[in-house]
Amino acid sequence: MAGNKRIMKELAEVRTNPPPGCTVTLADENDMGTWDAVMDGPPDSPYTGGHYKIQITLPKEYPFKPPQLSFKTKIYHPNVSNDDRGAMCLGMLRPDEWKPPNKIADVLRLVRSVLAAPQPDDAVEQGIADQFKNDRKSFDKVAKEWVGRYAK
């Protein structure tokens, strides 16, 4: 794997100097291909106080193919699918937008910014997006409820 040295380097960087609010570990110390990240809900967002487990899977073509992201903690958010996959729709992770020099730390930073500022026009959960746009109060309420229920 061409990316081995690269992945090691990335991992070392992320461990010594993690993106704000994140801690990263390997799911299995012998497997460089699956990373576990825990992200704190950004302050000033309904998710504050929550801790979100995010699994990052590196395809064997990494970094030529983008990593895959999956929320293991349920989150009430227009851009995260409300199912087992917990997929997040990020432009950066689309095959035609991903560039090999992009790093996982960049992805995590982007994820956190999307948590802080949902993008309802680019939603995977249309219902939640509509609520976010039209009835921000109830959206915040449900999102906070979910933090208490799933993300403590």
Binding site: K5, F64, P100, P101
Partner: protein, 601 residues
């Protein structure tokens, strides 16, 4: 039977043989010189027309009678062979049987003939392209002009355009090719933009200025670390375009391989640099793309040419490499159903690339398919098992024994049997015999109305689905036909050419069923008026013709030989009915005569 055989032979051979020749000569100027000479010498020597006929019937045995019959209507080819017969009988019979076969297939296979015609009709500046055609002066209303291109044609076409624009812009051809791909092959717009702001266009297309003076090359740079693989071995070979994003050659190559092989990109691959939109130019690609990728890469480049042009489309048939050019624009699709046939014989709609769906316009096809997807089975079930609440029209399934229904939605209470209000039932609980009551009969009328639309849909859907199913069975028939043809050859001593009528019939069946199928989708969206009635008459005629022909395939092999003429007749009748229906429908579509019960998008 024998009578009609006989009559048919006489009727056709005698007058029409000369008519046909005359027709062909006046209608189609560019016949080959040889044929012209033949027909000319024929009329010059003024051979009496009955002569060859008598000769044929006198000299030939049973088989050649069959051949002759196969030749209806007679054409110049038969005349030439007849002429030859004077000098050399053996030669003539060989020649005529060959030509008859040819004639047979073209007289039956309308589709093939039509496509040839359009190829030649098409006038374009790229006259260099190979066309294989006879000319037919007038096109039917349901036919469109189109051309089929081989991969080589497409390549040539690109090269030619590149050369043209290169001369105009005074740019080397490779750069021009990049510019054209960048401009999605819109020559005029590209030239205009280029004239307006040369530098901007060059820059956007990924052709920075000092490309020619200081071309990028693969080199080793001191202290370089590749941002992708994090290698920093001294002497590491690396490459950067003039945007300055430098990566090691291995990573660059892998990046390109990924794009070319996995993502199918070629003309618009961006620099791997983070956020850099510079397109990798051909020179860089040539330098970097490994030899095992070049074929795929060039194929993809060619693909973008077809993909970028509105007037070009790939044939959607699996593994087909041809592309079709047709001038019909998207906005015209409400007026015309542009059906084209590829070299590979696949007929498809140029508008939506679905299989041939004449006479139904694309938008109705889309609507219909969606409706069928959602509805067909459900609708059948609803029709069989449910009624509607007389008040709110919710669909209700009766799942228990009692006739006293309470609508879950509007709480209306009614009797399942008479559909009347339950309150009027008085004491006749669970024993409805109140058919004459007013509320009941009104409710039933209402119900009937709403059910009617469902039944209407099912009427059309069932016929549509039936023809689709039959068309699939026709495929089986076709395979059986092939076997029958082989059997016929051995049992009746007929030659391969002579049993072709079966294949022709089977092909005609398929084509007509395809058309019929879509007439039902079309009719579903037609408003009721006299035009629609005419359409349905045409539809009925074609349907009857098709079923008659279809029935003949059930006959046993030993009967088939004797049915040849009948089958040929029925085949050509089917095709005629199809042409009549399509022509009429297409004309009215063009002239906006049809009244639809939906918006034609």
């Amino acid at each position: 039977m024998r009578q009609s055989l006989f009559a048919g032979r006489w009727r056709i051979r005698l007058p029409s043989s000369l008519d046909g020749a005359a027709l062909r000569v006046t209608k189609t100027p560019p016949v080959t010189r040889k044929r012209k000479l033949d027909t000319a010498s024929l009329s010059a020597t003024s051979q009496p027309p009955p002569e060859p006929k008598r000769k044929a019937s006198k000299t030939t045995h049973k088989d050649s009678i069959a051949q002759v019959e196969a030749a209806l209507p007679a054409t110049p080819q038969t005349l030439t062979s007849d002429k030859g017969m004077d000098s050399d009988d053996d030669f003539a019979s060989v020649a005529s049987s060959m030509e008859l076969g040819e004639e047979l297939s073209s007289s039956v296979d309308f589709g093939a003939e039509d496509s040839d015609v359009e190829l030649e009709d098409y006038q374009d500046d790229d006259s260099a392209f190979e066309t294989h055609a006879k000319q037919k002066p007038k096109r039917k209303a349901f036919e469109v002009e189109y051309k089929v291109y081989s991969p080589q044609d497409i390549q040539d076409q690109q090269d030619k355009q590149v050369a043209e624009v290169a001369a105009l812009l005074e740019q080397p051809t490779e750069q021009t090719a990049i510019l054209l791909r960048f401009g999605r092959w819109n020559k005029e717009r590209l030239i205009e933009q280029y004239m307006d702001n040369q530098e901007e266009v060059l820059d956007k297309a990924g052709l920075g200025q000092n490309m020619s003076s200081n071309p990028p090359r693969i080199e080793a740079i001191d202290g370089f670390m590749c941002d992708i693989c994090c290698e920093d071995t001294p002497g590491l070979q690396s490459y950067a375009m003039n945007c300055g994003h430098r990566f090691c050659v291995d990573c660059y190559r892998q990046y390109l391989a990924q794009k070319v092989r996995e993502e199918g990109e070629a003309a618009r691959i961006k620099c791997p640099g983070d956020g850099c939109n510079k397109i990798i130019d051909v020179k860089s690609l040539d330098l970097l793309v490994t030899s095992d990728l070049t074929d795929r890469y060039h194929e993809l480049l060619m693909r973008t040419y077809v993909d970028d042009k509105e007037s070009l489309k790939w044939c959607p048939a699996p593994n087909c490499v041809y592309a079709v050019e047709c001038g019909v624009k998207k906005r015209e699709l409400a007026k015309i159903v542009p059906t084209v046939q590829c070299e590979c014989k696949h007929s498809f709609c140029f508008g939506c690339t679905q299989a041939d769906h004449q006479p139904c316009p694309c938008s109705l096809v889309k609507r219909w398919m969606k409706k069928c997807e959602d509805d067909s089975e459900t609708a059948n079930w609803i029709s069989a098992n449910t009624k509607e609440c007389p008040k709110c029209h919710s669909t209700i399934e009766k799942n228990g024994g009692c006739n006293h229904m309470t609508c879950r939605k509007c709480r209306n209470e009614f009797c399942w049997m008479c559909m009347g209000m339950w309150s009027e039932h008085g004491t006749s609980w669970y024993n409805c015999n109140r058919f004459e009551e007013k509320s009941g009969s009104e409710a039933r009328t209402e119900q009937a109305k709403s059910r009617q639309s469902l039944e209407r849909y099912l009427h059309y859907y069932n016929r549509f689905a039936n023809h689709e199913q039959s068309a699939k069975l026709d495929k089986d028939i076709f395979h059986k036909t092939e076997k029958k043809m082989t059997l016929l050859q051995s049992s009746s001593g007929m030659s391969w050419i002579e049993v072709q009528f079966l294949e022709a019939a089977s092909q005609a069946l398929q084509q007509c069923r395809q058309t019929l199928k879509w007439t039902y989708a079309f009719a579903y969206y037609l408003a009721r008026n006299s035009q629609t009635e005419m359409f349905e008459d045409n539809q009925k005629d074609l349907e009857m013709a098709v079923e008659n022909l279809s029935e003949m395939f059930e006959k046993s092999t030993d009967q088939l030989a004797g049915l040849k003429v009948d089958m040929l007749d029925k085949t050509s009748y089917c095709m005629r009915r199809r042409v009549i229906l399509l022509d009429d429908t297409a004309k009215k579509l063009k002239e906006d005569v049809w009244e639809f019960n939906v918006e034609l998008a």
